[in-house]
Amino acid sequence: MTFNEFVFYFFAAILLAAALGVITARNPVHAALLLVLAFFTSSAIWLQLQAEFLAITLVLVYVGAVMVLFLFVVMMLDINLARLREGFWSYLPLGALVAALLVAEMALVLGGRYAGFADAPAPPPLPAGYSNTKELGRLIYTEYVYPFEIAAAILLVAIVAAIALTLRRRKETKHMDPAQQIGVRRQDRVRIVSMPAEKKEQG
């Protein structure tokens, strides 16, 4: 076993354990944190494939932003496990179907030897000055520029739609306009009354 293999199996073991933890953990917050660990270790495996841009972006986007918001929501929920289990038997056939499909796909990949995938050559090692980021940028903005722009537009539409669907004007909220707050002048709020000092009453 070479050192590279050792590192790979080390991260792969952590990744599998974390992924298993995600679906078996009883506490949803624990499950979300284990998912963070799974993302992180899979990013380490990508680093081993010399895909440093994708690896770092995975951490940046999923660990740094998506999972934070996920945790944010999960932490506030009071999840009732008994109610979640109610539909278990009715959903079982669908779940079993998906699982069977996944197993078949994995078998095809792992048993590639029989399907003739094993003859595909390993990618050549990259030259020393190779920059993953530059290469990806060049491809995205030249060869794949239309798919990329279309995907961006679709995502933008999805964002706008999500906001438009959930935004509702509520009459009872007390809305404050900061410009109005800052625009207040002293004369509107305070009246200074000139009061000459009076002598102490005699008596």
Binding site: E52, F53, L60, V68
Partner: protein, 375 residues
């Protein structure tokens, strides 16, 4: 100078040779280079983290002293080393550290114990790991990687987990409120910070931090640094940095007048100290990064023609980082705390459009001859 250190260097080389022999004997020829490399990297990490910890300790003293002077007080001036009076106050961080070290760590009842202990570790990990790609001088950098800026963004974005986990695991309402505030705040300001970094990498044409500094090198000293073409971005970065480190005036996550001490209400002793160290280490990190990206890093502010004064050195970086970190303390002494809705408005409605707008402006500017920061 070098003649004096020669015996030390020789001794070091001899020790390293001895270590190499032992490692080869223990792990065999195949694994020995990897093990030796790991040991070497670990030693270098100690060389970065140990001075950083001392800097954190004395930053707390500097903060109390400086804010004291700003508020016409004296600040800590009692605790000295060996009873020498003119060192008054200098041993204060040591005393504080010792006090926290011997205090009991109380785990609240009903708290998730594992996560409760994990949270401070998650808070300090990114604050230390980010230093791997920071260039201290032209040759001095632990990992000279091409995707340095990306790595920084990814690692610093993980800092929020320590706070969220601490708030949730404490089983306390105040801690939880602090964690929620902090999560929303840090995600909002990370966007502005990310776009600010996009501007920097556009101007520098590279994600490598060493390249970012080299791009700012020129004949005119500080006029060649990126703080001039990226001035609005520089301000956004500093202010977003204050918000990211949960420092006053954006310290609503702690907000002692509303939620006692926010996410670390339930922490005591060393567990609290680790949060404290993480906050100050983050502050030093942000100010060092601001110096590297906008203030020319190790470059001298004077023209290169001025001889020794114009020569690049680690000292300049230190000086710049010290200036920026002192500004952080200055903000704390000056501004009242932001209201939460104001803070969110600043992040989303001011900084985000500003940084996105500046990316467009910068892209157009760089196509014209008016852009004089090309090398």
């Amino acid at each position: 100078m070098s003649a004096v250190f020669q015996p030390v260097v020789n001794f070091g080389a001899w020790l390293w040779g001895l270590l190499a022999t032992v490692v080869v004997w223990m792990f065999g020829r195949e694994f020995a280079p990897y093990v030796l490399y790991t040991i070497e990297i670990l030693l270098l990490i100690v060389c970065i983290v140990a001075p950083l910890m001392i800097a954190v300790a004395y930053l707390t003293l500097w903060e109390r002293k400086m804010i004291g002077w700003m508020q016409v007080r004296i600040g800590p001036n009692r605790v000295t080393f060996f009873g020498i009076p003119w060192l008054g106050g200098l041993a204060q961080p040591v005393a504080d550290g010792l006090k926290l070290l011997v205090k009991e760590i109380i785990v609240p009842s009903g708290a998730s114990k594992f996560l409760f202990i994990l949270a401070p570790i998650m808070a300090i990990m990114p604050a230390l790991a980010a230093w791997a790609v920071v260039p201290f001088s032209p040759e001095l950098v632990l990992a000279d990687v091409d995707a340095g800026l990306l790595y920084l963004m990814a690692i610093t974005s993980m800092g929020v987990y320590g706070i969220i986990i601490a708030g949730w695991a404490s089983n306390s309402k105040y801690a939880f409120l602090g964690a929620l505030r902090s999560a929303a705040q840090m995600v909002s300001y990370e966007l502005a910070m990310g776009f600010a970094l996009v501007c920097v990498l556009m101007a520098a044409q590279s994600l490598n931090l060493g390249e970012v500094v080299r791009m700012q090198q020129g004949d005119w000293g500080l006029a060649g640094w990126f703080w001039i073409p990226l001035f609005p971005i520089f301000l956004v970065y500093i202010i977003a940095g204050v918000a990211e480190t949960n420092r006053s005036p954006f310290d609503v996550a702690e907000g002692e007048s509303e939620i006692v001490a926010g996410f670390h209400v339930e922490y005591s002793g060393m567990a609290f100290a680790v949060f404290f160290i993480a906050e100050y280490a983050n502050m030093i990190l942000i100010s060092t990064l601001a110096s590297v990206m906008f203030l020319g890093g190790w470059l001298s502010p004077f023209p290169q023609a001025w001889g020794a004064l114009g020569a690049p050195s680690f000292g300049w970086l230190l000086l710049k980082a010290f200036f920026v970190v002192s500004c952080f303390l200055w903000f704390r002494a000056t501004f009242p705390r932001y209201r939460y809705d104001q803070l969110m408005r600043l992040g989303w409605k001011v900084f985000l459009p500003l940084t996105i707008g500046w990316i467009v402006v910068l892209g157009a500017w760089m196509q014209t001859p008016l852009w004089i920061w090309w090398k």
